[in-house]
Amino acid sequence: MRDVYIIGVGMTKFGELWGKSLRQIFVEAALSAIDDAGVDHIESMYVGAMTTGLFVGQEHIGALMADYLGSAPVPAVRVESACCSGGMALRMGFFEVASGNSNIVLVGGVEKMTDGADVTAALATAADQEYEVYQGVTFPGLYALIARAHIARFGTTRKQLAAVSVKNHHNGSLNPNAQFQNEVTLDQVINATLVADPLTILDSSPVSDGAACAILVSEEVMKKAKRPAVKIIGSGAATDYLALHQRDDITVLNAVKRSAERAYKMAGIGPEKIDFAEVHDCFSIAELCIVEELGFVEKGKGGPFIEAGNTALDGKIPVNSSGGLKAKGHPVGATGIAQVFEVVEQLRGNADKRQLKDVHIGLTQNMGGSGASSVVHIFKLAE
């Protein structure tokens, strides 16, 4: 396999972008990434999106986006793995460059969630329609089931869960692309409107529109580009039982654990070498479980670890410096690539007010559904 580098990233602001269409936001992010990379063409593209068919009635978006990007007849395909569609699109682009088939590949993610669709029902299609959704469970409901099990088994507290949202809102307040740039307090999170007990609206990522893109290139193109490049040193993906109830241990996100193990193996490093991470905090409990599965802390100790500030901007391992899904926003298909945007900007030293000090290796973790699919990538600033 050849080495693969990222030489450009771009994203739209995340939020309720009523004035802009699905194709507009994607092209905006794509042009921004192309300009950042300084390339004059692309050879192929992968577009991550969860359910544009349900959100805006539009499928076939690989072709649509290639068309509106003025890049037809390049090959273009949409990649879907629920909320980790973006991360999986990155993985497809990574393999295309690594294989030698293409030298310049655009990977992107997009979702337009505020055009009036039944968002709860659309997101629920990532769960088992016949044996979870039919019974009346929702996505917040599934994560609430995980939260209650984690609380019962490990003594995780309501306050520890809320600490995730407080941290991510603080980070979001420093990110001009974030949907929410306001701080929240522990009390506000705990006492907010319940969505699925014990999770409140402030434990939950919002409904968002947005797009993000990255330009992946071979070593040859990277050298000619003469700009700071980030090397992808690890990629791992994994799956699990789709229905939460079928997993032996409700508190374990096995796909996250396995995808991380595979990415660490490819990179030839362990979690102790990771300087910072962007992870899939669709709900506060998700980030808590993920820091455990990624090996940043022992299983069951995520609550105290986060509460003690270890994952804050100035902590031992900053997590979601962008504000995460919670504050930055979660246009589902775009999230996995927006995580890459943050890691690349941090490694290149462009993260302004939220810039982390002395970071060399970053990790992204993007997850589908209640954790039935997960993809992890590891990045290092190229010499």
Binding site: D118, G136, P140, R148, T193, A196
Partner: protein, 129 residues
């Protein structure tokens, strides 16, 4: 829900029919074509017990359209006596009555009417015992 899709699930939803792997003895609910534990492809039909206990639970406050008139309602993952787990509503009780480990019984109930002209959908729910 289109009628064929609904009809196909009736054995599971009305009678808790499952598959027992002839190789390793593990039960799959709903039935699968391949046993996720041993890869076995030969099964015998079995019916799950209607007794179990709550593994974890929540109360849904924001529901998809077909359930929106029923909020708040409680949902649990229930482990039945055979060790098989299902996601199910827990009804005829208050949210604060639920608890991890509490015993439940599975009952046959109406789920929701399908729009204004569709069929009435049925299935299993749990009640505290």
């Amino acid at each position: 829900m289109p009628t064929p899709r609904y009809t196909r699930e009736i054995p599971q939803r009305y009678r808790l029919e499952a598959n027992k792997c002839k190789n390793c003895g593990r039960i799959s609910f709903p039935p699968r074509q391949i046993c996720p534990h041993c890869g076995g492809r030969n099964f015998e039909r079995t019916r799950l017990s209607d007794q179990g206990k709550i593994v974890t639970f929540t109360t849904i406050r924001v529901a998809p359209t077909q359930y929106s008139s029923q909020v708040p309602y409680s949902i649990a993952i229930v482990e039945l006596n055979e060790g098989v787990r299902i996601t199910t509503q827990v009804v005829d009780c208050k949210p604060e009555d639920l608890g991890v480990g509490k015993p439940v019984k599975i009952v046959f109930r109406k789920m929701y009417p399908e729009g204004k002209t569709g069929i009435i959908c049925y299935g299993y729910k749990a009640v505290l015992v």
